[in-house]
Subunit: 316 residues, 4 copies
């Protein structure tokens, strides 16, 4: 029955949204999802927990709600605290997996790095901040043939530009002809515990509705003609998701306390139905609301250093 | 019984926090709170709704959870949209009431304006942004005797300075001897509908735990020796408050649906008990979480212009 | 002989650079330059001094060192001081002339506004700051047919992007198809007295070597296929220019003091030779140096408001 | 005769201003200045050139134009280029000498770090940027007794606050009682070649007229009652200084070319006379003008990392 609900949810685009394949996977609780291969490991001295989710076919796509491809998640509580040694190791882990994904596309020589998001909104400023610390090399004269050529752009969000991010990037890519795109973005997670402690790499590009901000329309190999690798960090949770979790926990509590009827009433709803109910309750007129920790500025700053350092190791 | 609960809540500091006296008043649903005088009016062409809450005595303090003094709230949906004409009228309304509050202190000639909050966090950057557009005059040579003398400071938050904001302001005030303090700050509201559409003026200073950020310790006449007027705008709602509201609405829904037991179970809890339960459910390890609208950058920018313009009209 | 020198200078691109047609004109001291039409007027209550320089043909291009087209300069000392009433009038003057230039291109309905320059360098941040206050409308649903559709972009500078600004803009324009481009940029002037007190409008686009930053390659009707209007404000003077002026003044002083030989020695050099000598003296290893006033942040902020307000009046 | 001129210059405060003791020393060309001890060395692998100028007595003060105390200058071209390994070594050199100066004051346990300057003006934003990356610890609970306690403040400049920086710092220091002050500031150099490639440490505090911005009034042990260590980096050269140098070089050129009279005329002026003449020529109405390199944003960013890292090594 769970499967049915999930399939329906995927069809109806009504499921609880998460940008993390890891979390999408978790919502399918049983072991062994058909069409999805999962490998977990621990990386080096930094004890970064690595989960490699490979969506293999349409069945996997339906189960996870993400297109076919690789999704690598690095998790470490230490991303959120000042610890330079540890950050260096996380950067190295990131560099290693970024190199693998680029290798899968023939190690493209020229890469356009895109810092998605709104630099005026702290929780959405990860992309622009990473670009700030990137070594840009495309404009420098290069003799050596095997050196990579890195360009970068912070396109802004639609309220600032009046244009879809995808329009801007398509235009720039058509004109400057990079061999690959590397997109850095702030994501929305389902769980508060992932905020600022998780990095996701993927090789499937960015699709409608992803990210915190308003950068609809795809940035994918199909739409651009070049491979698109995405690096994302969850910095917000949709308010609806938090409420939903709490209601869920509340239902369990009530059940434990013997108030069976209500728990059943809530339990009887499908996952999408519940989420929709919660959204209708809290977002009547104000559009989407986001939940973010109080020290989001420090977390985004730390993570932008870790990520730009990782990218610099691979590309510069 | 409601009164009992509210009194207990006030004692136990466990009530649902709001920085707005208006909302504190609303939670006492019955008409006529002893020790509190309330006047509502509509201001001029801009149709700003003005609510003047006067907390008169200890009984009023207990009911509202705010110290004795004046709390003036200006409400207008148009604060959140681009409409220059309308913004000018709101600035004028603000100027009018600010002038009244200053008048109550003998229209002090020299004023130190403090922009509280963290300029690195969009929702907490209202104070610093207002200071950015203020006309500072203290350092200019003045012949005319009746001109006001305005100084300003953005003290930062404790994570940036290691010092309590109150320590910094006390030190600067002792050295530069302004006759009054005007504090601008981002506030936490209870209701999402107030975010970016409400301005509160008060003449009671700022007390522990107020505001979004971490500026504990009082900025009051008692602690500083000079009157303190505060201008605040709600820019966040505590995540717990949103969940709480939803749970409340959910309980009503369940009740309507006949799932009596659960509704009763929730209903049987006191307000503070419910809020505490919700907090424990969503803030296990991560400290306070805040809910903020997606376009918070535009709202804070618009409001900072409205407020700095209002202050400039009175002080410059 | 002066003419000879100037023609040679134009050929050799060695003349003292200025982005202002007004100043280029001034360096031709005699009245009546063939191929150039000049009209001076004073605009409205604000007493803005307006100089309309029309470069008519190749002879004019050679004399002024600027391509054929219109160059309108608005000058007012009050741009540099806080005076809101006055700024509104300057915005209106700007709007009036911007409307004229757009009218010359058939009043295009959709305009892409480009904020050139580096927002990290105060004196080069005029373009990005203007974009910050612009009303962007392209993404809003519009029923009315006669409403303009405004998009905007801050492309960054080559050190940040690795790409020529012209590449970025060409790509975006090809993809989003605006009917005209409006480019806002900080300029280099010859004279310190013009810093922050002059606005130049032109309808000839932007050509190599213009501006403070590094945005080479043309943004012109030829290169983009759509008309390009530029709004610029001088915010720096090349250090070499200031030295050059001083050396010039020094030579005059020496001459007056009877130290004939040296004065003659300097006098014997052509203008370009002198400038080149000065550049070689002060820029041996460090690349171009710029001179900027201490309060450049306030001047750029005031001017960005004036300009965005003027553009909003015309386009929004 | 040179000595006479220099003494007069010191008396008349008309000499060519530099914030670097190193440069003040250089203008006394002969070896062995009475009252001044100078030691030069090279630091470790990074090949940082270290010059320790010790002003011993009043005679030294008169010769150098700086109060008695230690002035340590670190010079390295690599400060201005991306080279992380090298930057780490410079941070270590800085940490070593900072530790020595603090040791001279008994290694104070609690330090207030002040980021002087205007964060809105790139060349003046070094102090605020260093504070951005500092580890602030005063507000954290500390069990260990031997841990330092670091607080920090960015006071802003007088145009923003209406207050003297010294007033603000005096007030905060009186209230929070640090045992020492560490002041970070952007400086004005005499020579373009020092911009962004030199760090000066001193233990004499900051005196009137120093720095780029407008932070007059002393921050010294006399005025505050606690020792004051200053870290400064030259980011601008006064425009007058550049012109002056060029005129000087020009005079030499003319002399070489045999135009004796003019050279003599210029040569006959004293240093202060020449500088004054140049200032009068270029700063008639516009106040001080500053010269800064085009890539000042990158240089200030790199240096702020190097310095905050050095301070963190010592204090955190």
């Amino acid at each position: 029955m769970k499967d049915e609900i999930l399939e329906r949810a995927a069809d109806e685009e009504m499921q609880v949204h998460t940008d993390l394949a890891l979390e999408a996977r978790e919502s399918c609780k049983e072991e062994g999802i058909p069409g999805v291969k999962i490998e977990e490991s621990v990386h080096g001295a930094s004890q970064v927990k690595v989960t490699w989710v490979e969506v293999l076919d349409e069945q996997g796509e339906a189960a996870i709600g993400k297109p076919c491809g690789s999704y690598i998640t690095l998790e470490a509580e230490q991303m959120a605290v000042h610890d330079e040694g540890c950050h260096r190791e996380i950067s190295e882990a990131l560099a290693e997996y970024l190199r693998k994904l680029l290798g899968g596309f023939g190690s493209p020589r020229s890469v356009l790095v895109v810092g998605l998001g709104n630099q005026e909104v702290t929780s959405d400023s990860l992309g622009p901040q990473v670009l700030n610390n990137l070594r840009i090399t495309r404009h420098l004269e290069k003799e050596a043939e095997n050196v990579r050529c890195v360009s970068g752009i912070v396109p802004g969000v639609m309220a600032q530009t009046g244009m879809e991010t995808a329009e801007i990037i398509r235009g720039i890519a058509a004109e400057t002809r990079p061999e690959a795109l590397l997109v850095v973005d702030a994501l929305a997670a389902r769980s508060v515990s992932r905020l600022g402690t998780t990095i996701q790499l993927s090789n499937t590009g960015i699709s409608p509705g992803s990210g915190v901000g308003n950068h609809r329309h795809s940035l994918t190999r199909e739409s651009l003609g070049i491979p698109v690798i995405a690096i994302g960090v969850p910095t917000v949770v949709a308010a609806a998701a938090i409420v939903y979790d709490t209601v869920d926990a509340l239902a369990e509590l009530l059940e434990a306390a013997g108030s069976g009827n209500a728990a059943e009433a809530v339990d009887g709803m499908s996952l999408p139905e519940r989420y929709q109910m919660v959204r209708e309750l809290i977002e009547p007129r104000f559009g989407p609301m986001y939940v973010t920790p109080g020290n989001i500025d420090e977390r985004v700053k730390l993570l932008s250093y870790i990520i730009s350092e990782g990218i610099n190791q691979v590309l510069a």
